[in-house]
Every structure is written in structure tokens, then in C-alpha cells.
Amino acid sequence: MSAADFTGFASLFPNETVTHSYVQDIPLPAAPGAESPGTFALVTLDNGLDHGKPTTLGPNTLVELGTVLEGLRDRAARGEITGVGVTGKPYYLVAGADLSAVKSLEEREHGLHMAQLGHDVYATLANLGVPSFAFINGTALGGGLEIALQSTYRTVSTGAGALALPEALLGLVPGWGGVYLLPRLVGPENAVKVMIENPLSNNRTLSGPQAFDLGIADALFEPADFLEQSLAWAAKVISGELVPERANAVDPSHPDTAGRWAAAVAAGRKFVESKTSNAAPAPGKVLDLMEANRTMNQSESAAVECETLAGLMQTDEFRATVYAFLDLVQKRSKRPAGAPDRKLARPITKVGVVGAGLMAGQLALLFARQLKVPVVLTDIDQARVDKGVGYVHGEVDKLLAKKRISADAANRTKALVSGSVSKAAFTDADFVIEAVFEELSVKKQVFAELEAVVSADCILATNTSSLSVTAMAEDLQHPERLVGFHFFNPVAVMPLLEIVRAPRTDVAVLATAFELAKTLKKTGVLVKDAAAFVVNRILLRLMGEVTAAFDEGTPADAADSALKPMGLPMSPFTLLAMVGLPVAQHVQESLNTAFGDRFPVSANLHKLIDNGVKGLWETGPDGSVAIPDSTLSLMSFGTSPSTAGQVLRRTQDALAEEIGLMLDEGVVAGPEDIDLCMILGAGWPMFLGGITPYLDRVGASERVNGKRFLPPGVASGPAAG
């Protein structure tokens, strides 16, 4: 076939931002006294837009690239060129397949066409009749990195940012030859690292030097003259002056390889199980392909890759991931729904933190590092203040020791953070946030004291996780200055910030809060003042269901493993222990007060807390995990056990009910914000789409609310018929 055979298919995508393939002929430099190595054809992939708009591979792009490469193949046959190179516009080789195009493929056959088109084009690249070179000048993701893998040789820039095969995370497989070529090039262990471990570890990517060390690239050059040096290197390879060695490459037919290959796949499967509970199909498919292709030739593997891709493209897990990844994390998080005009935001030149405990310390560190303004901690006595400031200084020293910051930056950050036993230190602060005990009267007292000292414009913020911001504002002289600013633990890591608007919160205060979130490198989501806001309300509803099932007599293992098909980052009981039983119980009580029996307060948990039990599961000396008898003896259980399947369904329904109510109450602008919060605040997987696409998928939304959260096609397949 030729790329032109796919023109009809490509015409289904009239709105694609096409990445063009521009060709330039370059005479290669000759070695001293030697014949010229001939003419080199360099293909530049360029969508003509600035570097804010990554180049991607859509159907029209691939047809153009394929047609160009076929022309070069013909020129090579005529002896006009001796080598072909592919590089990209500044900062990108290619950022991968055009996901919005792929997501819109409504029929399996179209997915198959897309997969075959890529293979057709890449096969041309791999069989030009002359050596092909990828000059990896920048980001090379997915199909972008596969262009490089399909080339005969690769150079990479030390300045290249993100190199990765993220397909396993996105719900696909590196099925344009990556899954076949990579283990052969860098060894099966490294291939599993790149195709499985990195994508499933917060979508980790490789730098240019890391890719070179793994053996993905044959040569490494600095950005200042990357292309010139790459071309000079290519000339030497073409003339035979230089033969790259590939220390990590393996021959799959070698007798020793089979064992390594199988072990690497097995290790990969274990990793997938630990990260996803095998709740998503794609990572397992990557390993299936790799396992099978050891004894295949490349075209046999290509056929299986195409079928696998076509199948995965039709899965709701893939569509939910693209929704989560593109629509939410990349787009919606940057333009928060309901955020006021940023021009209304006021500058923040000094920050106050009330309280000097662990949370206060984390907040002070974040403000000092990101905002780079003076931060004052206060507490009731000097010892507490000293401890709080000491904590921040200690954390700065740790960052310095890990070389995450320079000595000067460490000095600056430490100097910014000071402490005081008097709130008078806040007189010139623009923003004061409290992180004191979760008790309404305490918080009201703090804010009353603050209003006595702070300036008229000073914004007051609460980091409460479950109390009413409205109630806190009630007795303030200026209730319009109070806003909820709810961080997630650990503050330095979790990207979500729930920005809580109370009924009287001023629009300029809100605008400032959103600008502040951006400066702190957090994603602000606007939420209405309702008990526990979004993330904690959903997490506690979930934990409440599982705890209730356990209390009713469901075996602990059945209860706690019931949600495995959702692939959440940790089981409910593990989460409970991590949050801390007393904290969880405290929030649950608030929610029970606010919403009643939907949030039952477990008498068993009370007993455990009273007896200082820190969690249910304990690891025994032999490594086995169980709930100790000493814990069980404190608890009493009912006689109506559920199966794991029943617990799962009950939890799905509870979540659908709760989210339906939250949307009715107007807690957030829409289900998209619920999903964004769960992804960024609780680390819920993208293949669930956050949560509402999953609830739609399993029918819970229809069962409980009689309707879906999202229309068909947004995060799922198109409407049937």
C-alpha cells in the first residue's frame, strides 16, 4: 500500500492541524581526502505554529509524511540521495498521535485504518534503501518517539525534554512498532521501564541524556549546534567512518534472551497489578504484545499491533483517559470554570499563617518558595513558633541537600519565613491563612483577632477541610474578605486547591485566590461552600460505604478489595489509615451532621480510635497482612455480609447519588470539575475519567439518577445507533 491509499480516510479529518513534512537537500561533508558521502535529505516536521502548539500526528499529517518518504525512497533508488533524516521544529520532534482525532474514531475499522496508516508510513521510513536518521531535537512522545525507533540511527539533544512512550497510561499500546523495536534496541528490562513503569509513575518521561544512556539514541549532542553535529555524525556513519555500537541491544533469537524477556514481562505485570489492580486493559496489552513478539518478525508483530490498537481505541477506558488528559488536565485546569477576571486580582506581598503545626509549616514553605514574599507564622507560645519555623528551615535544608535548590535560594527562602507569638506581625500582610484546629469556635476566634490587626484589604483564608466557611464569616466585620483555600496533603505534591466561595465572598478576593493558586503552581477549582467540598465528601462517602459493609459483617478482605475493579491508588482501609482514623472520623461526623445517614458514623471506628489503633491492616513478622485479633476483638459486627460485587455496586451507586446531589446543590460548575478534583486531589486514575465517566460506564448514574453525567461521546463511545 502507499500513503495515498489512505487519502479517503484522512479526508474524514478536515479540521486536523496538519504537521507538514518539509524536505531540504543537504550535501554531506567529505572526510579529508575522501569522496563526498553524497546528498542527505532532511525532513522537518513542522505545523507552522509556535512552540505553544506541539506538532502531532493526525491522519493527514501521516499521509503527507508517507508520500514524502515514498518520494525519497524513489530518489534513493535512483542514487540521488545517500541518507534521510527526520527532525522537528524547535523543542519538538513530534508530541505523538493527534489524540483528539484518534478519540473521535467512531468505528473499529477507522481505528484499524489509523493504526495501519502509521505502520505503512513508518515501514517506508524503515525501508528507504538508504539509512534513515532521527535527530531528536526535543519532545518525542508515543508515535513521535516511534518515528525515531523506526529510523536506522538516532541522535538526541541534551536539551530534549520529554521522551516517552506514554500509551499504557493513555489506554493504548506503542503499536506503531515501538513495542517490537524498543526491547530489541535497549533490552527487555529497559523496554518495560519505558513502556510500563514510566507511564504508570505519574507519566514520567526521559531526558535526552537518559534516553542516550538507555541506548535509545546512538549519539548525544548539545542544543547549541545539535543539528550541525548530528548531520556531521550522520555523514560519518554513511561513509562508514563510524559504526555505532549498541551495548544494550539484544537478539531475541539468542537462547539467553528468552529468559530475560519472560522475566521482564513478568516484572512488568507485577508492576501493573500494583499500580492499577489490572483495572485498565492497556498496560496488560502492552505486555501481551511484547511477550508474543519475541518470536515474531516485524510485519507479523505489526498486524497484531494494529488489531490491538483498533480494539483499544474503541474502549471507554481510552476515551475516558483522553477526556481526563486533554479536556481536563491540559485544558480545564488552566481555565478554571467560574474564576473571575484575573485583572481583578490584588498583589500579595506578604503572607500570614496562623498556627505553626505541620500543615501550617507546609503552607509557609509553599508560599515562601513559590510566591517569594515574607511569610509569618504565629502560634500561642514561642516554643510552638520556633518549632514551626524550624520545620520550614529544616525542609529547606533538605531541598538544599538534595540539590533541588541552590544555596542562595535556600538562604532566601529561609529568610522569608519568620515567626511571632503576636498577630500584630500580620499588620502589613495581604493574605492570612489559618491552619488551626478544625473547630468552628476556634476558627471564629482566630478570625476575630485577625480583623483587629490586619489592614482593610487583607484577605483572610481558611484551610478547613470540613467546616462551613459561611459560618466562619458570620461575625466578621468584613465577611466579603474570607475565602476557603483547601490544600491536599502532602501540600508540596498534590496539585489540587479547592477554592471555596462563601455567599458573601468578594469577586476581587476570589480573583486573587485563583491568581495565587496559579503562582503556587496549583490547579484551583471553584467550589461552593458545602460540607467537605468535593474530594473529601466523595472519599468519605466511599469509605463510609465500605466501612458500613464491613461493620455489617462483610469479611474484611471482601470489603476492602471490593473496589479493585476501579483501580484506585489505594484500598479504602489503607486510605483510612493514611488519613488517620481520628481525622477521618472527625470529617465523617461533620458530614453526618450536614447530610445525615448517607455518612454513617461507625461505632467500631470510635472504639478503635479510643484504643489508639492506627489502622486495620497490620503486617505480621512473616510478612502476611491481616487485621490483628486484638483489633477485631474491639469491634462488633452485624450478620448481613455482602459479597465484594455487592460492595462495589453499592459504592458505585452511593458515588452516583452523592455526585448527583452535589451537582444539584451547585457545589461545582459541572461533572468535569468533580472529575478534575478526583484526578488532581485524590490521584484517581484517568481511565476512570476521574469518576463520572466510570459511573456512566457501569450504569450507576442511570440506576440512581436516571441519567448520565456526561453525554455519550464526551468521555465514552458515541451514542449507540
Binding site: 561533508p29 524547535p90 550541525e228
Partner: protein, 431 residues
């Protein structure tokens, strides 16, 4: 506490040697030129990096100064080029740098002023060069000549236009006809074409990548301005843009160009210590002022002064690399010293009329070419590089050939010009 005569030791003047020089391919200024879309500072950075690659025995931290010239020091030629170029080239942050301006003699001045520092003992090793992106910075752009030049008749306003000064030179020396200028220009093209054929130019060029909208990346490794095969009759009909029925045309002048050059200089001791090649030894240099209206005559007094400083006569000079801003300006120099228009000692590889003249960069091009000619011709002991400078100046540097039997330099080894970029890979090239 009193100082009783045990102060700093008296300085002795040290030998200054030219270790290596190279340049980017020169381009035609303007949107269609090869360097359109490429930054001036990036051009000089390519040169510095290639110098370090070609001289792997030079530890980058041993570079004591980076002096880079540009005539228009704004935009991509602003921000103290020597320092920014050093940082962008990846030199250690401990290496300082500065920017130089003497219009066309910028790179020459970067060399001579740092050479002075080497001779005095302030530096062991320096990088000196120049860049002019005349596409990004048209000649005179942003300049604001003092009105006193005109009101007090300090300088004829016409002297601010170099083409006019060339016509003025034809007026002053009626024996230099348009025909002689055109013949000289054709010879320049022929000599450059021959030098290209004989492999004398490419070894000292560093390739430069360029990218234009809708065309993709390419890599430029040859000069764009040359017009090999130009004939006298091709030139005869060209316009004389500076004066009706004048003599100065685009054919017998250097063009408007983009390009950069750079060189490594060292003390004789440092070159020996570091195992750096010695391609030339600095003998003397001089700058001189002339009437701005005939700035092209500048090299004459500059050369006389430099010869006098060196205790040499024009007869001692075996090779001349004179910048060809205009044919008339070279011919006036040759006439003054009684040298024939086609003397084989003069501009053996052709000159700026053929290869181009990115103002502040050209001085080091002359030196790089003289160094290669020294190696090719050990019978020559002394050579000069000379150029005229806007607003009425000239600059001349006299060099000694270390390959000559009577070479006076005591230290270092006579260098062999590299015939290709060094084979040593400085960045992890092979897995």
C-alpha cells in the same frame, strides 16, 4: 608597615600567537539569505564551539577573555556580546567577555586589544572574533550622527556613506579606472573559486543550521555571496548606485552580508604548555586615521606605522590579506606601495568582493586565510592583514610565519592547519 622596593615584578612582553581561526559561511543579507532567521549571537556561538572542538587540548576554563565585535550592538548583537556568547557557547561561567566596536575592523580590534593583554601578561589564552548580521542590522540603523558633523563641516555628510567615499577615492586617484576596479573584482571571484576547488576554504568553515517558515531545517556549509565565473562584461553594465556615471558598482564592492568569525590567541608559553598549534606570531599592529571622505586609503598610513613599529619595510612582506570593501581601496593601497594589481602575494584566495564582508567579522577571516597561506608557503616570513574602516581609519597587523626557516618565535610548535573538523568527539558520540 612599609613597602621597601619589593613591589610587583617588572613585566616583560610576551609572544602572542595565533592558534586557530574559523568562521561561519557568509550569507547574503536579507530575507532570502542563508542566515535570515538565524540570530547573530548564535552565529558567533557556533564559531566558538567549533574552535573548542578543533582544539581539544585547550581546557575551556583556561580561556581568559572572550572579545567579540559587532558594529551595531543592539538586539541579537547587544547585551555585551563577548559575555553572552561565552555563556551561550557553554564556556565556564568563570570566563569573562566583552564587546568591541571599530566598525569593519571590529574583529581585528578584538584580536589586537586582547593580544595587547596577552603581551602584557594579563591573559594566557583568549577568543577574539566578530559578527555582523546585516540582514538583522542594516548599516547605520539606529545611528544618530551628531549634527555638529554637518554644521561645523567636521565630516562631509557624504562620508557616512561608504560607497560615496569609494567614488571619492576614484576622484583622488584618476589612474584607478572603473576598468581596473572591475578587472580586480573579476580576479577576486576567480581566485576564490580556485581556492574553493583546491580545498582551502571549507576546512575553516563551521556549518550553520537554518530554518525558514514553510521550508524546514537545512545546514549551510558554503558561502552564499560568491559569483564564480563572473566576467568583465558581466560587470561592465552594472548600475553605479552612488553616483550617476560613477565607477563603484555592486560588482566591484563587497556586498551586504551576514556572518561571524572567531580565533584563539595565546601567549607563546601558554601555547607550548597546552600543546596548541602556532599558526602565526604577531609582529606588530597599528591603526591610523585619514580623512573620513576617503576612508578607503586608511590601510596605507596604518601599514606604514605597523611596518615602522616592526622595523620592517614593505619589501619584507610576502603575503597580503587586504579586506576588499571596494576594489578601488585595494588598488589605491597597491599603487601606493608599487605593487601590481595582479601581484600573486595579494589576496591569494580572493577577497571580500567575492566572499562577502559582514562588517565587524572580517578581520579574523583575513587572519585565518593568512595562516593557511603561511602553512602552504614556508618561504614567506612575514605577511600582513589590513583593512579600511568607516569614518576614515585603517588597521594593519603584521604576522610572522612559524613555518619559515628563520622563524623568531622561541616557543610553541609550528601549527598545522587542520584540514577538517577535528576527529575527536567532545560529546558522547558513540554508544
Amino acid at each position: 608597615m612599609s613597602h621597601t622596593g619589593s613591589g610587583a615584578p617588572r613585566r616583560t612582553v610576551r609572544d602572542v600567537v595565533f592558534v586557530d581561526g574559523l568562521r561561519t559561511p557568509f550569507g547574503r543579507a536579507g530575507e532570502k539569505g542563508i542566515h535570515a532567521g538565524t540570530r547573530a549571537d548564535d552565529l558567533i556561538v557556533k564559531c566558538i564551539r567549533e574552535l573548542l572542538r578543533r582544539n581539544p587540548s585547550l581546557p575551556p576554563e583556561r580561556v581568559d577573555e572572550v572579545a567579540i565585535a559587532a558594529t551595531t550592538q543592539t538586539g541579537d548583537q547587544g547585551l555585551t556580546l563577548g559575555r553572552t556568547a561565552a555563556l551561550l557557547a557553554g564556556l565556564p561561567r568563570t570566563v569573562p567577555g566583552f564587546a568591541v566596536d571599530r566598525m569593519c575592523a571590529g574583529a581585528m580590534t578584538a584580536v589586537t586589544s586582547t593580544a595587547g593583554g596577552i603581551g602584557f601578561g594579563a591573559y594566557d589564552v583568549v577568543i577574539a572574533g566578530g559578527v555582523e548580521h546585516m540582514g538583522n542590522h542594516p548599516m547605520g540603523s539606529g545611528a544618530d550622527p551628531n549634527p555638529r558633523f554637518m554644521s561645523e563641516r567636521l565630516v562631509d555628510p557624504a562620508a557616512l556613506n561608504m560607497g560615496n567615499t569609494a567614488e571619492n577615492l576614484h576622484d583622488r586617484f584618476p589612474a584607478i579606472t572603473k576598468q581596473r576596479s572591475d578587472a580586480y573584482a573579476v580576479a577576486s571571484q576567480d581566485k576564490l573559486a580556485a581556492a574553493y576547488r583546491e580545498g582551502r576554504i571549507l576546512p575553516d568553515l563551521v556549518p550553520v543550521a537554518g530554518r525558514k517558515p514553510g521550508q524546514g531545517w537545512t545546514v549551510h556549509s558554503v558561502d552564499e555571496p560568491p559569483r564564480p565565473g563572473t566576467t568583465i562584461s558581466d560587470l561592465a553594465g552594472l548600475r553605479t548606485p552612488f553616483r550617476a556615471h560613477g565607477r563603484v558598482t555592486a560588482g566591484n564592492s563587497a556586498g551586504l552580508n551576514d556572518g561571524a568569525t572567531a580565533a584563539v590567541l595565546a601567549s607563546g608559553e601558554a601555547a607550548a604548555e597546552l600543546g596548541l598549534p602556532v599558526k602565526m606570531r604577531l609582529v606588530s599592529y597599528a591603526y591610523a586615521g585619514v580623512e573620513p571622505e576617503v576612508m578607503g586609503i586608511g590601510p596605507v598610513p596604518a601599514t606604514e606605522k605597523a611596518l615602522q613599529n616592526a622595523g620592517l619595510t614593505i619589501g619584507d612582506i610576502g603575503l597580503f590579506e587586504i579586506n576588499e570593501a571596494f576594489a578601488v581601496q585595494v588598488l589605491s593601497f597597491l599603487d601606493h606601495f608599487g605593487i601590481a594589481d595582479d601581484d600573486p602575494r595579494v589576496n591569494r584566495y580572493g577577497g571580500a568582493i567575492a566572499v562577502g564582508h559582514p562588517l565587524a567579522s572580517s578581520g579574523v577571516r583575513l587572519m585565518t586565510q593568512l595562516a593557511r597561506q603561511f602553512e602552504e608557503d614556508p618561504s614567506v616570513r612575514y605577511g600582513i592583514t589590513a583593512m579600511c574602516v568607516g569614518l576614515g581609519m585603517g588597521g594593519t597587523v603584521i604576522w610572522e610565519n612559524p613555518h619559515h626557516a628563520d622563524y623568531s618565535g622561541g616557543t610553541g610548535t609550528a601549527g598545522t592547519a587542520t584540514t577538517a573538523p577535528a576527529a575527536v568527539q567532545t560529546e558522547g558520540a558513540t554508544a
